[in-house]
Structures are given as structure tokens and as C-alpha cells.
Symmetry: C2
Amino acid sequence: MKIFKTKTEIRNYTRLRKLNGEICGFVPTMGYLHQGHLSLMDISITRSDFTVVSIFVNPMQFSPTEDLETYPVDIETDLNLLREKGVAAVFIPSVSEIYGESFQTQVSVTRISLPLCGASRGVSHFTGVSTVVLKLFNIINPDIAVFGKKDFQQLAVIKRMVKDLDLEVEIISGETVREKNGLAMSSRNSYLNANERKQAPVIQEALKEGKFFRLNTSTDSVSVEKHIINQIRSNAPDSRIDYIKCLDADTLEDTSPETDNILLAAAVFLGKTRLIDNIVFSVKSVEKS
Amino acid sequence: MKIFKTKTEIRNYTRLRKLNGEICGFVPTMGYLHQGHLSLMDISITRSDFTVVSIFVNPMQFSPTEDLETYPVDIETDLNLLREKGVAAVFIPSVSEIYGESFQTQVSVTRISLPLCGASRGVSHFTGVSTVVLKLFNIINPDIAVFGKKDFQQLAVIKRMVKDLDLEVEIISGETVREKNGLAMSSRNSYLNANERKQAPVIQEALKEGKFFRLNTSTDSVSVEKHIINQIRSNAPDSRIDYIKCLDADTLEDTSPETDNILLAAAVFLGKTRLIDNIVFSVKSVEKS
């Protein structure tokens, strides 16, 4: 497995393999890899001839009050996991390699970035995400790129950016991987203490309850949100709800009678740890379970 | 000469020629071509194997109070000029071809877009420019792209965007082409009546006076600006000054004792027509004329 630290090296590497007719798959990460990440690698490896993974904790997507300084890092374990997985190359740039002197360009996907994490973390969060992902696409020039559905809004932002900016990369989404108890895998789960970890699965359970409520009891988004909030408050006493939203999954705007796909999205603090999760379902399909 | 109206057609055309090892040159325009544009085509044709020109009056870079609706159009004459010049392909998309449904992505080069035309036309002007140019780069995938120095800030914005977003296109700048009387060529010169046209060359004359003043009399930017403003007011009685600025040409920020390259930039209304021009010079080089 190749390890590159500079843009020039990784660019030359992928260019050469692509010139040989090979399809390049790409999985951007912030490292501290878990089974969720590894399932994205699996998708990329299946769908391409060689997979490039980036590990870059992107300062541009953290607000000053967030956990940039404490974000978990374990490069050696990450590299071992990627080697075992069969990844072809890893790009581990420094911050100054990515953001050179006088850097000042921002890519914003305006409307989709506004609600949910855009509202709670600040709209600059997704500007940081779109900007760094566009840069990584331009450096690596992948044919396909894989993103996880746990970060549903991020996935929507990237898909919209690719369409709006006429990029040729195909965006593929990977299902959320969960612990046995239902907790969505996240690098930030490592922050949880034993008590918080016990309560964390309540988020996914409450979203499932919300889906059942939306399909069987009420189509009113506020009622659905209240139902989910009540579930979480009752069953996870140490939780503090950041947001619970019921939106149109295609536009991330309020639902209307025409809405087909519903997104139930949650951001919940357990202690100091902010966890997100979501559930997406069709209200028009026959399947209601 | 090929004429394409869809992104797919122009993309396939340039892809095929590039696959054959040919270097693609690109000149984006808003049409109503003059000698200034044609001199950019000459540069592209000299430096590449085939030149693509786009003609697209980009609504995203006009504010609601500006001249989008009246912007001059003469596609037939443009096509004849491009044919004579030896351009390989022209891309003339509709607005809906460029900005599809739910389009919402914005590319902003933050600091460089703030002063001068960013301050006077609104910062969204350059967001419109950067966004459409990035889209055109992504659609056409040129190896080089040529921009005129008359739009000095636009050139600076594009160069910065290319660097910040790790694009591989090389940006080449073309000198401003002038009428015999010194007036910088512009599609908007067609708006001028006889009286305004007579006064228009005063802008370039005043900038030259400003350069002389900066090199020989005072390094104080405000004094230089006042000197230029006085020249224009005295010699072009029907002018209304939008801005006259003396800035660091490399950063577009205020000059400092370390500044090497000076930009004197002017935006002046003659009647309803807004004209821009500039002059750039080194204060450290020996040559002081």
C-alpha cells in the first residue's frame, strides 16, 4: 500500500493508473477508522480497479468551539486496517499541504447546507466540507467516491455540489453500519463513557419509533419530532437534544403532501459528545416496516 | 468550426481531442467580441492544439440593477470572427443548460473579491464569475485558459481559485487592447454616445498620470487616488466616478512599504455606461516611465 503526503505524489499516482485504463475509487475520511468506514472501502474496492483513501482532519469544517483539537487520531491502526482491506493508496496530507498560503476560496451549497447540522454547527461547517471534498476530487480525480449515509446531509451536499459544478465523479452512498445495539458507528463514539454508551442506542430506537408514528399516526412533522424527542428524553436521561427534524429527504426542506421520501434526523449530546443519526423512508412505498 | 449548445456535446468533443494527445485552449467570453477578445484567441491558438470559446452572458454575475437585459448580443458576427480566427469549437449554452433545476452552489474567492468591483457591484458579482468559470473548466477541461488584463480583478480571482481548488488548468493573461485614443476595448463601449466616447480615453490618461505621480511625487495611495480623480473630473465633465483605487497588485489589499507591484484601478460612469480600466507597474524596477 502506497502512502503519500503531498498532492503532487498522489496526483501523479492516480494519473498514471488512470492512464492505464484503471477506474479510481475514492473514500475521504478523517481517520480513526471503524467498520462504517471499512464498509465504504468495500464498496469502492468492488466498484473500482484501485481505491485511494484520504485521512485528513479538516480544520475548515470545525467551528472554534468544536472538537478539532481532541478529535481522535490513530494513524498506525488506520494504516493496518487499510492494508488488510486491500486499499491501494492512502493520502495523508498536512494542513499546510491542503491549505496553502493566502488560501481564501469557499465552496457553498447554499440551501441544502442550511438546516440540521448547518443550523446547529453553523453554515460554515458544510462550506468546509464541500471545499475540502472538491479539492480532494481535483487532486485525486477519482471516477467514483463513496460517502456514508450516517452523515446524510453531508452526502446530500456533496451530491448537489457534484451536479451543480458539473463534476464527473460518481457519488455512491454506503449504508450506516451499527453496533449490535443499534448505535451508529462513529469515531466520536470513542468519547462516550460507559453510562453514555448505554444510553446512546436510544437515538436510533427513537427514530424508528418516529418512523412508525409518521406512517401510522400523524403526518405532521412537528408531532413526529415531538414524539421522537419524548422517546429520547424518557429513555436517555443524560441526553441533551441538539435537533430532531422531520424533513423531505430529497430537498432537506419542510415536507409537503407531495413528499415521497422522509428524513428523520437527530443530533443529540450525551455528555459532551454530539452524536448524529437518521432514518430515511418512503411514505408511498407499500412496505411500512 | 463546431458549434455546441449542450454540456455533453462539448465535453465529448474536447475529451476525444485530448485523448488524442492534443492540448486544449479555452477562452470564456460573454460574446459581442472585439479585438480584445480576439487577441486572447490568438494567445490560445498559439499555445494550444485547439481552442474552444464559450459565449455565455452569465446572469449569476449581474446584480438586479445591472445591464443583463440590455447586454449587447450579436452571435452571427461573433461566429464569423471566430471562424476567421481559426477557433475549433464554440460552446453557446442556454441559461438552463448551465444552471439546472435546484442549482445552489456558490464558489467565492473571499478576500480578493472584496474591493474594487466587488465593493461597487456587490460581492456576488465575483461569486457569479468564479462559479461559472469553474463550471466551464469542469465541462470543457482545458489545459490552458486565457483571460484579459482589462478585468484585472477577475483575472486575480480566477488565478486564486485555480490555486486554492487545486485545478490543473494554466491561467494565461492577455494584455488590454486599446483604441488608438487609448480607450480600453469593451463590449460595453457600444453603449457610448459620441460625446461620451470622446471623453472615455480620459480614464486611461488619468491612470497614466497617476502612475507618474506615484513614481515621482507621492507614495501615499489616497493622494494618488485624488490626483487621478482630479484629472478625470477636469477632463471628462460627463463622468461620474465609481471608484479610483491604488492597491497592492498581488493581494488587492492596501499598499505597504513592501509593496512591489502597484495596481491603479478605475471604474467610471459615462452617462449610464460603466467603464473599467487599470494600470499595473512595479515600483522597484528601474524603469520609471
